[in-house]
């Protein structure tokens, strides 16, 4: 069924527009209801550690230096120097020219290196350039590549173009995991989010990711809910499980726990794992650590008790 859907622009359009619609009011209400869950004591301890293990610790600035990336890697391996029981994060996410630095700094720690590629964050470059960048990241040792879709092509209805581009990047990735960034803040409607999710999955994405973090709004709870429903339905239809990454704007531990609740009650245990759900963030980690310490000791310590980067 899905193979037929990708044979032509018209067939792909028919398929994507045949997906069930998303009622925005209803999706927002469902996300808001899940956000009222009260996560306490043992459940909170479990969720805080899980959230830490799901973090893609990210620095995507023009001003990034090798020194900054090395510092971030040290933090990723051992987030809380005062408490070795704090787990390492899932990955460090950097621009592709810094992959080698991160790779060397992380060594055999198990923390993955994720590289943004394909003319991140705009995605506005020739396909050859995007593929060259992807190959470069893979060659430098990235475990995961985060690509952006061409939102211009998507919004003007050139779905096949988007599909073929994702396919080509996936091919260039080889066995390296491909995360496809939909930049949902630019897609705007939840119908677009669901269609883009399916499009990315049909093209071979291993993960679908909300945002670059450069556009506001970045990740939101209802958008993540819609994407989770899409990966659940996609697995029902094809048997293949795809991960979800919520990225950008998640700064507080409380928000991270809300994402975990949405994962838990939408797709369940199968996705409650760093292999299948990630939180892309830079400043979230310290709040997670602070709440973790609070839970263990009963007291809040100031921000200076946690490392800057």
């Amino acid at each position: 069924m899905l193979a037929d859907a990708t044979t032509s622009q018209a067939a792909l359009r028919r398929f994507l527009h045949g997906l069930p619609g998303v009622d925005q009011v209803g999706a927002d209400a469902r996300a808001a209801a899940l956000a009222t869950r009260s996560i306490k004591t043992d459940a909170k301890a479990f969720a805080l550690d899980l959230a830490i293990r799901m973090v893609d610790l990210t620095t995507l600035e023009g001003a990034d230096t090798p020194g900054k990336v090395r510092a971030l890697c040290a933090k990723a391996r051992r987030p809380d120097p005062a408490d070795p029981s704090a787990p390492p994060v899932a990955a460090v996410c950097v621009y592709d020219d810094l992959v080698e630095v991160a790779r060397a700094a992380l060594g055999s720690s198990g923390v993955k290196v994720a590289a943004v590629a394909t003319a991140f964050p705009s995605g506005r470059a020739l396909l050859d350039v995007k593929l060259a960048e992807t190959r470069d990241a893979v060659r430098a040792g990235a475990d995961e590549v985060d690509m952006v879709i061409d939102r211009g092509a998507f919004l003007s209805g050139r779905y096949l173009e988007v599909l073929e581009e994702v396919r080509a990047v996936k091919q260039a990735c080889g066995s390296v995991h491909l995360k496809v960034i939909l930049e949902t803040g630019e897609l705007q409607t939840y119908d677009n989010v669901r269609r883009a999710s399916w499009l990315a999955m049909m093209a071979g994405a291993d993960f679908i990711k909300t945002s670059t973090g450069k556009i506001s709004p970045a990740a939101t709870l209802p958008v993540t809910l819609v994407m989770l429903e899409a990966v659940r339905d996609f697995r029902d239809a094809t048997g293949r499980q795809v991960g979800v990454k919520a990225a950008g704007g998640i700064r507080a531990a409380k928000d991270a726990l809300r994402y975990l609740v949405v994962v838990n009650e939408t797709v369940g245990d199968d996705w409650l794992d760093p292999d299948w759900f990630r939180l892309g963030a830079s400043s979230l980690l310290n709040d997670l650590l602070m709440q973790r310490t609070k839970l263990a000791t009963g007291r809040y310590s100031g921000p200076d008790y946690f490392t800057l980067d």
């Binding site: 619609g21 209803g26 469902r30 009260s38 996560i39 004591t41 245990d269 409650l272």
Partner: protein
């Protein structure tokens, strides 16, 4: 790390915000009094069967006293007071409801068995909203478009059900007071406590004595209130059976009457519906407040082409519903309100089995004590089944299918009731054409069980007559030159 499953730790709301008296009197003429000729009865927590308090049952002479107090307050103060002044009292009550919202939410959950999530986020805020809304009307009744020189009707007798004790009180009391009437209200015998705290709120608001009188008791007390000759208008929300008795009792007396009775709402899902939100709407339609909702979407009519998909998604969704301690902030499904109601739900569910429908219940462990029933879905139901016709008033959904919009309308309207309906489709023109043809007081489009004080609510056929809320709801509490 312990296991992979994300299990929520208990997160109970504290009971400490509620101070329960061992026993309660009747609220008559501005103070709590012992009954003259009534008895006492216990009100229990349906979640654990513990007795919460002893409550008075008002007898005939108690009803006399309350009606006289209401008449005196009506003649002496309330009906003569300028609307703007009445509005101030209503605003004050609304604000106190908000200030005491946590206490009221916990109390409502203890007495009723509904999840704290609902009493906290729905019942209490909506109750306050009704007082705010009607406070705004109190000095603008001339402009309600209901006729010239609108004035109050007199002393109003109100009998309310146990499913939304405080909210139903607000639906009844707020418009009555806004229009200048005085009130004798009887809450349901299984859920009297929030009404008694409301009595205290009336005192706190310095409401003139006798404007609101609250008589607790069972059906007999309700009958005495309804039949009392000093009552000018009766408002009742509850079962169709009791509604019939009241209509008979009131017939020929010249009393005005409004009835909000049972329902068997159709929730219609078309093949182009936003499917995940429709599933949420089905859940909200029938499992909200354990299905103890007269306008519940207890009949799911789903287009045949998507029926299997919708039912599969619904069942998957129901496995995540959390049933248990109603005071836990993560509980979705609380206790059935009483042993009698549980017996009725069980009997009707058993009738579904006997008639050959397929029963499926969400796999949740039921607590040992208290009154519990798991969220249940019957498939393979036809119009001829009792579970498709009778109001179950519990967490039981009957699933029927249809093929064309015509068939959906026919089946939806083929019921003695007509309180609510829902339509799920992405097609706006279809929503409008369905809404025009469905014989139901409320038709929700791509949502279900949403309430607002500005939106009138009421039924067709055996679901009663009259409207509550909105501009239309004022009509029952106003005498105008046109209606005189």
């Amino acid at each position: 790390m312990a296991g992979k499953t994300f299990t929520y730790a208990p997160a109970p709301e504290s009971r400490a915000v509620v101070t329960l008296e061992p026993s309660y009197g009747l609220f008559v003429d501005g103070s709590f009094v012992d009954p003259v000729d009534g008895g006492v009865f216990a009100t229990v927590n349906p979640a654990d069967e513990q007795v919460l308090a002893q409550v008075s049952a008002a007898g005939a002479r108690d009803v006399d006293r309350a009606v006289s107090a209401a008449r005196a307050a009506y003649d002496g103060v309330w009906s003569r007071m300028p609307g703007a002044e009445r509005g101030k009292y209503l605003f004050r009550i609304a604000r106190i409801l908000q200030e005491r919202s946590r206490e009221l939410a916990v109390l409502e959950t203890l007495d009723n068995g509904k999840p704290i999530r609902e009493s906290r986020d729905v019942d209490v805020p909506l109750a306050a909203a009704h007082f705010f809304y009607h406070a705004g009307w109190a000095d603008k009744l001339e402009y309600a478009g209901l006729g010239p020189n609108p004035g109050p009707v007199g002393v109003v007798g109100q009998v309310i059900p146990w499913n939304f004790p405080l909210l139903m009180l607000a639906w009844k009391v707020a418009p009555a007071l806004a229009c200048g009437n005085t009130v004798v209200l009887k809450p349901a015998e299984t859920t009297p406590l929030s009404a008694l705290v409301f009595a205290d709120i009336c005192r706190q608001a310095d409401l003139p004595a006798g404007v609101v009188n609250i008589l607790t008791g069972a059906g007999e007390t309700g009958r005495l209130v309804v039949e009392h000759p000093g009552i000018d208008k009766v408002a009742f929300t509850g079962s169709t059976e009791v509604g019939r008795q009241i209509a008979r009792a009131v017939a020929g007396t010249g009393k005005r009457l409004t009835l909000e009775l049972g329902g068997k709402g159709a929730n219609i899902v078309f093949d182009d519906a936003p499917v995940d939100q429709a599933v949420e709407g089905i859940v909200n339609g029938i499992f909200f407040n354990q299905g103890h909702v007269c306008c519940a979407g207890s009949r799911l009519l789903v287009q045949e082409s998507v029926a299997d998909d919708v039912v599969d998604r619904l069942k998957r969704r129901l496995t995540t519903l959390r049933l248990g301690d109603p005071l836990d902030k993560n509980t979705d499904i609380g206790a059935i309100n009483s042993a009698e109601q549980l017996a009725r739900v069980r009997a009707l569910a058993d009738a579904g089995d006997e008639e050959g429908a397929d029963r499926w219940s969400a796999p949740c462990a039921l607590p040992d004590r208290g009154f519990w029933f798991p969220p249940t879905v019957f498939t393979g139901v036809s119009q001829a089944h009792r579970i498709a016709r009778e109001e179950i008033f519990g967490p039981v959904l009957s699933v029927l299918t249809f093929r064309t919009p015509e068939e959906a309308v026919e089946k939806a309207n083929n019921t003695p009731y007509g309180l609510s309906a829902g339509v799920w489709t992405e097609k706006g023109s279809r929503i409008l054409s369905m809404a025009a043809r469905l014989r139901a007081g409320v038709v929700w489009a791509n949502t279900f069980n949403r309430f607002d004080p500005a939106s009138p609510f009421g039924g067709y056929k055996e679901s009663g007559y009259g409207r509550e809320g909105g501009r239309h709801g004022l009509e029952a509490y106003l005498a105008t030159e046109a209606s005189a």
